[in-house]
C-alpha cells in the first residue's frame, strides 16, 4: 500500500477528534498496563449513498454516515470489547478502559513500537460516491428502467438501484500495527417482474466491486445487467415443477461457487476449528474433497468485492490455499484464533464495523479451473439438473449440512439441457458432497460482485467463484417426488 492511502486514512480519522500520535501511544500504554496480551483501537468512518428506482420513478435515495471507534483488549482466550459512535479523546479513553476491564489476572505486557511497512494495494483509495454526479445517477436509473421495459412487452415491473460506499479505517495495536486503508465499494442491481397469461415471475442481476461507478458506463455494463434480469425472468415463465430427491447436478460457473462458500468455506474458519466445533476440525492433511478440487481464498485480486489490502486487524490481504487436490491445507485465521492455534493470521480478520468484533471471515473464495469442457460435463449426465443461478446459501458448520437455492435451473435428459424447472433448494453434507465432485470445467469465473456473507449477525462483502462442475449425487428439493 502506498504510504499516502494508509496515512491519509489515519490522518483524517484522528483529525476528527483532534487526537495526536502521542495521545494514542499514551492510551495504548495505559491499556497495556494491566494484564493484556494485545490492545487494539479501530477507527472507522463509512459513508454510503444509495439511489433506487421503482415503478418508473427515482423515488428514494439516502445518505448515511457511520463513524466511531472500537477498542478491544485480549487476554488469552478472553476479549473485552467496547465501542462508541464518536471519535473523541475522552470517548476513546472511556472505551479503552471499559475494554481492558476484562483482564484481571496474567502477566504484564508492553506495547510494541509501531512498524511501518509498504504493502501492495488491491484497489485505489478513491471515493466512488462522487465519481458520478447525483443527476447522472438519476439519469442512469431511468435509462436502465426504459431499456429493461423495451426488451420485452411482458416486463411489468422494474426496480433499479445504485449504491456507493466509502470506508476509511485505521488500526492501531500494541503488536505494532499502525495501518490505515481506504476502501471503495459499489453495487448496481436490476430486478424485474414479468407477466404472461396471469403468471408472474421475477429475475435479478447485479454486480459491483471496489472501484468507482464509471464501470457502469463502459461496454454497456448496466444494460447487460438489465438484459440478464429480463432473460432470467422470461426463462422462469416456462419453468415446470422441479424434481425431488437425490440426483446428479451440474453447477454453472461463477456465482454457483456459493457451494464452496457454504460446503467448505465456513467450516475452514479458524474460530470453529480452534473450538473443535467444525466438521473439518483437526483434519489438516486429510483428503476432504475429490482430487479434482483445489480451493483458495484470495483477498489480493484487484478491485474485487471481497478483496482487502489489509484486513480489519491490519494484516495484509493474502491468498490462502484451503484445499489442494482434495487435501485440506489450511484454515482462515484472524489474530486471536491464529495465536491460540500457534499459527500466523492469514489476513482474514474482518468486522462489519467498529461496533463489531473481528472474526475469521472469507474474502474471495473459489475453486481453480479443471480440465473438462463444460459441454462434456452436461453430456455425461443421463438424468439430472443443471443449475445456472443461485439465490444464496446457508451452512451448519457442526453437522456439515448446507443448502443453496437455485433461481434458474433446467432438467438434463440424456446429456442435453431441456426444460427449465422452478427454483429449488439443494441440500448436502459439505465433506460428503465435495468427495462427489466428479468433473471440473476449464471455465473458471468469479461472480459479478453481489455477495454479502453473514456470521454472528455481522455482514461483510465477499466474492465467490468456480468453474462448471458436476456433483454425482445431491438432494434436490423440488415438489415432484
Amino acid at each position: 500500500m502506498t504510504e499516502t492511502v494508509s496515512n491519509s486514512a489515519k490522518h483524517d480519522l484522528l483529525a476528527t477528534g483532534d487526537i495526536s500520535d502521542r495521545q494514542l501511544e499514551t492510551m495504548m500504554s495505559r491499556m497495556m498496563s494491566r494484564e493484556i496480551d494485545r490492545g487494539e483501537l479501530f477507527f472507522q468512518c463509512r459513508r454510503n449513498e444509495s439511489w433506487s428506482l421503482e415503478q418508473g420513478i427515482v423515488k428514494s435515495a439516502g445518505f448515511s454516515v457511520s463513524r466511531g471507534i472500537g477498542a478491544r483488549a485480549i487476554s488469552g482466550e478472553k476479549s473485552g470489547f467496547a465501542y462508541a459512535d464518536d471519535i473523541q479523546l475522552d470517548v476513546l479513553e472511556q472505551t479503552s478502559s471499559a475494554a481492558r476491564s476484562i483482564a484481571r489476572v496474567g502477566s504484564s505486557q508492553s506495547a510494541n513500537l509501531p512498524v511501518k511497512r509498504k504493502l501492495p494495494e488491491f484497489y485505489q483509495g478513491i471515493d466512488p460516491i462522487v465519481s458520478v454526479s447525483k443527476d447522472e445517477k438519476v439519469k442512469l436509473l431511468s435509462r436502465i428502467d426504459k431499456f429493461a421495459r423495451s426488451l420485452d412487452p411482458r416486463v411489468k415491473e422494474v426496480s433499479v438501484s445504485i449504491n456507493a460506499n466509502h470506508e476509511s479505517t485505521y488500526i492501531y495495536s500494541s503488536d505494532g500495527t499502525d495501518h490505515g486503508d481506504v476502501r471503495p465499494l459499489v453495487r448496481f442491481g436490476v430486478s424485474v417482474v414479468v407477466e404472461q397469461n396471469g403468471r408472474r415471475e421475477n429475475g435479478n442481476c447485479g454486480g459491483g466491486g471496489r472501484h468507482d461507478l464509471s464501470w457502469l458506463y463502459e461496454n454497456e455494463t448496466a444494460e447487460k445487467f438489465a438484459r440478464e434480469a429480463v432473460r432470467q425472468a422470461l426463462v422462469n415463465l416456462e419453468a415446470v415443477d422441479a424434481p425431488a430427491g437425490p440426483m446428479p447436478v451440474v453447477l454453472g460457473p461463477g456465482w454457483p461457487g456459493v457451494l464452496l462458500h457454504e460446503a467448505v468455506g465456513h467450516g475452514l474458519e479458524g474460530d470453529f476449528n480452534r473450538k473443535g466445533t467444525s466438521t473439518f476440525s483437526n483434519r489438516i492433511g486429510e483428503r476432504v474433497a475429490s482430487p479434482l478440487c483445489t480451493i483458495v481464498d484470495d483477498a489480493t485480486i484487484p478491485n474485487r468485492r471481497g478483496s482487502l489490502t489489509i484486513d480489519d486487524e491490519g494484516t495484509p490481504g493474502q491468498r490462502t490455499v484451503l484445499i489442494e487436490n482434495g487435501v485440506l491445507k489450511g484454515y482462515m485465521q484472524d489474530k486471536l484464533n491464529a495465536k491460540l492455534m500457534g499459527v500466523a493470521s492469514t489476513g482474514n480478520g474482518r468486522r462489519e464495523s467498529y461496533a463489531h468484533q473481528p472474526l475469521p471471515r472469507m474474502t474471495n473464495t473459489f475453486m481453480l479451473a479443471g480440465e473438462s469442457d463444460p459441454e462434456e460435463i452436461v453430456k455425461s449426465v443421463d438424468r439430472g439438473v443443471f443449475a445456472k443461478t443461485f439465490g444464496g446459501g446457508q451452512v451448519d458448520i457442526t453437522s456439515g449440512q448446507f443448502v443453496f437455492s437455485a433461481t434458474e435451473a433446467y432438467l438434463i435428459e440424456n446429456g442435453k439441457i431441456t426444460v427449465p424447472v422452478k427454483g429449488a433448494t439443494l441440500i448436502g453434507n459439505g465433506p460428503e458432497i465435495m468427495t462427489r465432485v466428479s468433473m471440473v470445467g476449464n471455465d473458471l469465473e468469479l461472480d459479478l460482485g453481489v455477495g454479502v456473507c453473514g456470521k454472528e449477525g455481522q455482514g461483510v462483502p465477499v466474492g465467490v467463484g468456480q468453474p462448471t462442475l458436476k456433483i454425482d449425487q445431491i438432494t434436490v428439493g423440488g415438489t415432484q417426488a
Binding site: 415503478q55 420513478i57 427515482v58 423515488k59 428514494s60 435515495a61 439516502g62 445518505f63 448515511s64 454516515v65 463513524r67 482466550e77 476479549s79 470489547f81 467496547a82 462508541a84 459512535d85 464518536d86 475522552d90 470517548v91 472511556q94 471499559a98 476484562i102 447525483k134 445517477k137 438519476v138 411489468k156 415491473e157 426496480s159 417482474v193 421475477n202 425431488a244 430427491g245 437425490p246 473443535g276 466445533t277 466438521t279 461496533a355 468484533q357 444464496g392 446457508q394 451452512v395 451448519d396 457442526t398 456439515g400 449440512q401 448446507f402 443448502v403 437455492s405 422452478k422 427454483g423 429449488a424 433448494t425 441440500i427 448436502g428 438432494t475 434436490v476 428439493g477 423440488g478 415438489t479
Partner: protein, 458 residues
Amino acid sequence: MTTTLVDVNANTSQGVHSPEDEAKLSEFVSRILDVAKSGGATAAEVTAGDDIGLDVKMREGDIDTVEFSRDRGFDITVYRGNRRGNASTTDTREDSIQEAVDAALAIAEHTEEDSFSGLADPDLLAVNFPDLDLYRCDPMDVEQLKDAAQTAESIALDFDEKIYRSDGARASVSSNCVAYGNSLGFLHAYRSSNSSLYTDVIAKSSNGMQRAAWFTMARQRSELDTPELVGTKAAEHAIRKLDPRPIPTGEYPVLFDQTVAMGLILHLLNALSGRPQYLRSTYLLNALEEQVTSPEVSLKEYPFIPGAMGSRAYDSEGVATSEKYIVERGMAKNYLLSSYSGRKLGMQSTGNASGVCNLTVEALTLPLKDVLKQMDRGLVVTSLMGQGVNILTGDYSRGASGYWVENGEYAHAVDELTIAAKLDDMYKNMVAFGDDVETRRNIRTGSILISNMTVAAL
C-alpha cells in the same frame, strides 16, 4: 451528548435511561426538524435512538467476551414538495446534524416527483399514549450476566455425557430510548428494555456432531426462561438431533415446531404487506376478503399488551396502531400498510409501517402429543435452512432437519432433507395447532401441522 460507557460499567443498581433522557431526545428531534425547516424542507420526519447495552459471553466455564455498547444516531427524511430525501448518521455532534440535513435536502433536489409520497395523514397520527410498561431494565451488571450464562452453560454440559462441548452461553441487557417527530407537530419518545439469555451446545456420537441452541428474550430477566431451563432445552435438542436415519423421499404430513412456525407465519404476513401488493410481486394479489389460510385459523394483532415485545402505540410514521384481524377464519381482512403503500393502493395506512404488533395465531390448540397422534406418521421440522421462499410465485423449498414420527411418537432424528410445496397450499392445509405457544415473541404461535408437503431425502 457525551458517552457514559464507564458510568454504565459502574451503575449496577438501576436502569440506565431516565425519563429525562426521553425529554432530551425529544428536544434533539425537534431541533433537527427546525434545522430541516430552515434549510428549505416543506415537510420532515426524524427518528433518533440511544441504545446502551452489556453482553457477556461465557465459554467452557470462563469469560469469552464482555461487550459494552452505545449506539446513537438519527434518521431524517425531508420533502421538497413531492420529492423525498433521506439521511442517517451515528454522529450526533452539532455540525453533523447540519451535514445530515443538508445531505437529505440535496438528495431531495434530485429525486423525482412522487405524488404518493409524504408524511402520514394527520388524522391517523396517534393521540393516546398509554403506558405500555416497556421499560423494566435490569441492572447492567457483569457478574449477574456472567452467573446466568455460566449456569445455562454448565446445566447443558452436565445434562448428558453425549454433550460434547459448548459453543458458549450469552447473557445480555439493553436499555433503549427512541424519539420520533414530524413537521405535523407529532413528537413523542419512549424507553424500552430487553434482556436475553442464549446457549449453544454440541452433542456428539459415533455418527457425528450436532448443534442446538435455546434462546429466551423478554423485557426483563425475571420473565426469561430460567438459566436451568435454557441449558436443559439446548442439551435436549442437540441430543434429539444425534444419529439421524434416512427416510424415503415422498409426500408426508409436516409439523413446524413452534420455533420455526413463527417464520412460516412471517412469510404470509410478507405476502400481505403493502409493497409487494402495489408492486404486484406477491402470490396473494387482491387477497382481501379472499380465503388465504385454513378457515380454522385467525391472525390478530394486539398492540397494547403491557410489557410485551411487540407492543407499541404508533408505528415508525407516528400512525396509531390498533387491535385488528389480519386474517379472520381464513379470510384476509387487512393488508399491512404504511402511508405510502396505502396511498399506492388507494387505502389508508394501517399503522403497520414497522410491521405487526404481537401478532397472535388464534386457533383451537391441542397438547403437542395430541397433535403428533393426529399426525401419526410424518416429519417434525425443528430447523430450517436457506432462502427458498418466493413470495411472488408462492413456491417454497427449504432445507430441513428434525425428527421422524411413527405411531404418533418420536422415532429417530432426520436431517439433510428438503421440504417443498406451494405456500398457498401450505396455509390452507394447516390442520392442527399445538398449545406450546411462545407469548414472549412478537409472533405468538405454537407448533403448526401441515397435512402434506414433498419431503426429499438422500
